[in-house]
Symmetry: none
């Protein structure tokens, strides 16, 4: 868990309710009353997920979602739409604009949490605290522990996040740029070559368990984690 979630909702009571529940679930909640305010927030820091009311004063939720989807920087952010029951027929339209899921009001905190978790699991598995296991490697985000073939492995913060991301997206080549975006964050200015160094450090830390072979170099493209 522990994702940053932006709540865009004009009704204060519901907004408060939602952020309260998110906080209880261990997330950090950003709040916005309307689309303009939300856009500003998104400028400065990208949230991991956006809860978006369908009906908003000024720019509507749909329109806001469309804009997010058209901007390269924000197009991959998962969106959950909030809609009133009476607008149920608009569900399809909502999903068409690229929402990942929708919730109809009134909803229970349990449902909210379940859907948030589900979407995060699908779109940003490295944000959840599910235990990940690949090959002989096991990583537990909650306890922040890693074992390779049963032996404990210890990593610095960056290597930890890097490995976590790779393990949640295995069998897939990631360019250095992608890794920088996903592991370092999108507002960071860092040389691409730096990724090499951290890959190196990660491999070195895994050497004692012979699991460094999981991290493969794809020349001209990037890196991949694979049990083969």
């Amino acid at each position: 868990m522990a994702a940053t979630i932006l709540v865009v909702e004009d009704e204060p009571a519901i907004q408060e309710l939602i952020s309260y529940n998110l906080k209880q679930a261990g997330h950090q909640a950003l709040k916005a009353d309307n689309a303009e305010q939300a856009l500003n927030l998104v400028q400065s820091a990208l949230p991991d997920l956006i809860l978006l009311d369908w009906m908003l004063p000024g720019i509507s939720g749909v329109e806001f979602a469309r804009r997010l989807r058209s901007d390269k920087r924000t197009k991959t952010i998962p969106i959950i739409m909030l809609t009133a029951r009476s607008e149920e027929q608009d569900k399809l339209t909502g999903l068409e604009t690229g929402a990942d899921d929708y919730i109809t009001k009134p909803f229970s905190p349990r449902e909210l949490n379940a859907r948030v978790k589900a979407v995060l699991r699908r779109r940003a598995p490295q944000m959840t605290d599910d235990v990940v296991q690949v090959g002989g490697l096991k990583l537990d985000p909650a306890s922040h522990r890693i074992t390779g073939n049963g032996q404990p492995v210890d990593l610095g913060p960056t290597e930890f996040r890097l490995l976590h991301f790779l393990m949640t997206h295995p069998e897939r080549v990631h360019s250095r740029t992608q890794l920088l975006d996903q592991v370092w964050g999108d507002h960071v200015f860092v040389e691409e070559r730096t990724v090499d160094v951290h890959i190196r450090r990660l491999r070195k830390a895994l050497e004692p368990t012979a699991l460094d072979a999981l991290i493969q170099t794809v020349r001209g493209t990037g890196y991949r984690l694979s049990p083969n």
Copy 2:
């Protein structure tokens, strides 16, 4: 267990039944016939949990819940709603106001106790009076006593709560923010680094028993309690 529970219910028979059962289960029961009376009680002493009838004369249960949620001092108190079967369709609305759980009348004492226990455990496991034991450490909330490998350990109030929380959530990294929310309360404004100092004091107090090793630092993330 041994929580202080406020029962807000206008029907005397049901109120009596509930408080009797709560007392049987070892809790202390406060009684209120209506929301106004309940608000007064809450002013003087915060209960650990509130059982709230949906239908109340005067201020309704929903409205009362909303007020509790809007006040900083009371927003974290768990609420269980009581509703008649016929009001079942309002469940969602009930949960929307931030209730933690829901019981439909008529209910069995067993169900009541189970839900109360579940909510208390979910919301604040460190609120219960169960003796906690991790590694060679034993903490007894009821007698407010701690022993490390048999030897008594004494702590200040804050260190006690901190240790209690850590022991009830072991094998898990907690950020300074999470610890502040959980141990200090989310209405307090305190520097994050203050957590370090209390961790230090806690470690120092545990040193004589060599159990200070249980409290581990996870650089860049927070602290963890673990028997390893």
